[in-house]
Symmetry: C2
Subunit: 533 residues, 2 copies
């Protein structure tokens, strides 16, 4: 493959020993012959498509504008929200993928269900390339897109392609536990970096790298960052363009795992102040470009040296069960990642590729963008509704954060709500005076991240935050509510050093009634718990 | 999980360091609560199924008896073979999988397309368990079946679960190159063991293990065997029950990669001697049991200590693009393999799982067995037809093999066919007297494995077999025929020690006309080549 344009940087020294050791695929030796017209191949171990028992597969697919893009009178009352559960008002279009299409170049099961190139079927390769072109606008020319079997697996392959056993990966102080668990068996350790509301802090990153002491740390200075720049799981932080530029300038290499990219929900506005918003009409921009311009850009946009491996997934935008996504990265990394796929996952499932491709071909690029806009509003409304519920269950005060994760953000503190009795306001159990927990409504993603103020708990002097967090988590579970315990998102073993507890609460998959009920359970259990009742 | 029955053996010392280091899934901590009726979960990061854009998916699926099970007058003339390419005579049944079925326990997209347990959807888990029960009949009770994303990935996960870097895996002298390539980046080396027509020789295995010298080999004695016992790729050997028992008695641990299990084609009978065969009616056995009894059993049948990880795939029996298969192994290995899947592939693709499950539910167990019987005959007829073609292109003689791979087998030697001219028989180029190549028709799988007698080549004194093999391979490719070069199936670096060349030729995916044309090209190029023309 050709060298980088416009910048030519040799990044091959960042490949792991394992990645370098991978065989060149024997297929590559055949490649010069494979295109020959009339060539007979008895080389592969391919079953005949005649023996694939599917004559065709079909799907009824929702139309791209199934969800509104701006809150209407009806939508802001949430009357329509989750209405699709009833399924009787869905508008769908029927699509069929035959085993043998009339035009052989059309989407066909004979090809999609055959052993295939690990990079995926050509029609879908073209679609994701166009998406990366238009939406991420990488800063160098000869980047490559290549399909993979979901971001979890793509991260696993990225780790073994970039890191050697005993090395470290820079991660946000709070981050996605499954990504850490993938590194662990290879002896690759997370190196936490301090965060604020934009995710990883560039000054903290610079300090970690500058002050790195190979002897003291027992490992070389890390060369790889794992970043979830939009809707970081669990904190929900959004890394802005300015921060991304700073990080990139400091950077050596990194992997951008960005499943929540289109779920950029914007600032939470309290219910009473929320206005009937209508999308401002694009001026001089088509609808798709207007939508893209409204999103924080990818690291790719600043990646003039080809250092980023971006992981995209259809899990959040189509369905997790697709197990389908794509890399955008430099051709050298792509080639090594493709070799890694050839000896493990091979191509993503042909049924899934076919059905996703058929929908995207039907929707076209503009339709897919329209679908994503609808999705973004759904998650925004869910975020708003859940925070509204917290506002009904607790007395919320708002003040700008001054330090740490929420510096400069609207931080909501939750107090026991005064209860009106015959003789005025009173509360039975918990003290009114101190906040029970605090949070900053996320600007992207699926989660609200709570700090639990256990310093207000009567047993705080004798129990660690970690133990109090688990105690409360169990009490909630036994009262019928599961939330994500903070401890599992702490990448290293020293969680006891935290003085607050944490919960990650998902608003992505419950009905309105369930979210309401959940906040009531949460309120009742938490008030009792903090009163040590 | 409970200990083994009836034998209780602790095999935990066979886990790799990496496998031991894997996290227990955080999900396991939640498991005791997840079954609670009415429990609200805001713990996971699940999108709402309302946002999955598929209302339903459908397929037209062939009926199980689409292919005959015994050669008929029509079939033995090959008139029907590959007829399904025309697709107009297919008998299919239409299946639909809704997002929200009327009965929630039915197959449904809302569940199949959600993040799921790595082991797969329950309906398919049940089907593969029944298949392993009835077809493989493992020798201990509490074995586990668990879905995976294809044998290639399952082998990758088995390697990192069982082996540490620097260790070796015992393999057949000729074996599947992709399996070797998967080990290489982890620093795990293949240790070849001599083979005969039954695959790995038990006496050779015993010798390797008995005489193992840790210092001389620079690694501990291998603990793992990789076996393709049916239709070994590329040699097509079939390991009999008796041999399996011998190997198992010697064995410590092993992985059985058995994609060709049902493609057991039996002995090749030359065309002139081939009789119109009709399946003998089962006596006291139902059709499915009769079929199973006709197959060499799995290693599982002798695995009374739970040492085998058996890998099954739908690639050869449904379609490679399913990327779907299953493990059958002991519960401890299964648990570690499930953890490995959670941080990489997760569950197999939900679309693929749904469509495969729908077909298998429709066909039922007996229907699937009927489908497999039809497939087996298809591959048998293809094998016979291709060997017949070789018999038309070359003068074949047959004699029992006396040594090595084909000891005790019918070995066919191919000579230049006498060409009748006006003055009698003559040949222009190659010597009549010596065999150009030899082979033993495979008893299973998709490939004919040829030994090329390069000692007859004029340049043999100055060129290695390896170089002659590549030279011939290129000449064939340039004449329009691709075959599998033998060198890629040699697991170690010392191929030059072989005195013959080798080709693997696939009969699995070409039309009758293509196979005929391929043998003609092969004949023409080989005769010229051996005459050094």
């Amino acid at each position: 493959m050709s060298s980088f344009k416009p910048e030519a940087i040799d990044l091959s020294h960042h490949l792991s020993h394992a990645a370098r050791a991978r065989h060149i695929s024997p297929l590559k030796g055949l490649a010069k012959y494979l295109g020959t017209p009339g060539l007979l191949s008895l080389a592969g171990g391919l079953p005949s498509p005649a023996y694939f028992p599917y004559s065709d597969i079909s799907a009824n697919v929702l139309i791209p504008n199934s969800f509104p893009v701006s809150p209407t009178q009806e939508s802001s009352s949430f009357a329509w929200l989750w209405k699709l559960f009833g399924a009787d008002k869905e508008k769908t279009v029927s699509l069929t993928i035959p085993k043998y299409p009339v035009r052989p170049e059309d989407l066909n099961l004979a090809a999609a269900l055959q052993y295939g190139m690990a990079g995926g079927i050509p029609q879908l390769q073209k679609i994701v390339k166009e998406f990366s072109d238009k939406v991420f606008q990488p800063a160098y020319e000869n980047y490559v897109t290549m399909l993979h079997a979901g971001n979890t697996d793509a991260w696993n392959k990225s780790v073994i392609t970039l890191c050697n056993p005993g090395e470290g990966v820079l991660v946000s102080k709070w981050t996605y536990p499954s990504a850490m668990a993938a590194m662990q068996p290879y002896g690759i350790k997370p190196i936490p970096v301090d965060i604020d509301a934009q995710g990883m802090r560039s000054d903290a990153l610079r300090t970690v790298l500058t002050e790195w002491d190979e002897t003291a740390h027992g490992m070389p200075r890390p060369r790889v960052i794992y970043a979830v720049p939009i809707g970081e799981n669990p904190t929900g932080t959004t890394t802005t363009a300015a921060r991304k530029k700073e990080i990139y300038q400091i950077c050596v290499e990194f992997v951008e795992d960005d499943p929540y990219f289109v779920l950029q929900e914007g600032q939470y506005v309290p219910k009473a102040q929320r206005k009937q918003q209508s999308e401002s009409a694009p001026t001089g921009l088509d609808e798709a470009s207007h939508f893209i311009a409204s999103l924080e850009p990818s690291y790719l946009k600043f990646d003039y040296q080809g250092r980023v491996i971006r992981l995209d997934t259809f899990s959040k935008t189509i369905a997790p069960g697709c197990r389908l996504g794509w890399y955008t990265c430099n051709p050298m990394f792509a080639e090594r990642l493709e070799r890694a796929a050839e000896t493990s996952t091979q191509a993503p499932c042909g049924f899934g590729q076919s059905l996703v491709t058929a929908a995207l071909l039907e929707w076209k690029y503009e339709g897919y963008i329209r679908w994503l806009k609808g999705l973004r509003l759904q998650y925004t409304l869910r975020r708003d509704f859940f925070v509204d519920c917290l506002g009904e269950e607790f007395h919320l005060t708002v003040a700008p954060g001054t330090v740490g994760l929420w510096e400069g953000c609207d931080v909501y503190s939750a107090f026991v709500k005064p209860t009106r009795s015959l003789t005025g306001y009173f509360n039975e159990k918990a003290p009114l005076g101190n906040a029970l927990f605090s949070f900053s409504p996320p600007t992207s993603g699926m989660f609200v991240w709570l700090k639990l103020h256990f310093d207000q708990h009567p047993a705080f002097s004798t129990m660690s935050s970690k133990d109090l967090e688990m105690k409360l988590w169990i009490e909630l579970a036994e009262a019928g509510l599961l939330v994500g315990p903070g401890a599992i998102f702490w990448p290293t073993g020293d969680y006891a050093s935290e003085t607050t507890g944490h919960f990650r609460i998902s608003f992505s998959n419950s009905t309105k009634e369930e979210l309401k009920k959940a906040t009531e359970i949460f309120g009742a259990v938490l008030r009792d718990f903090m009163a040590d009742a």
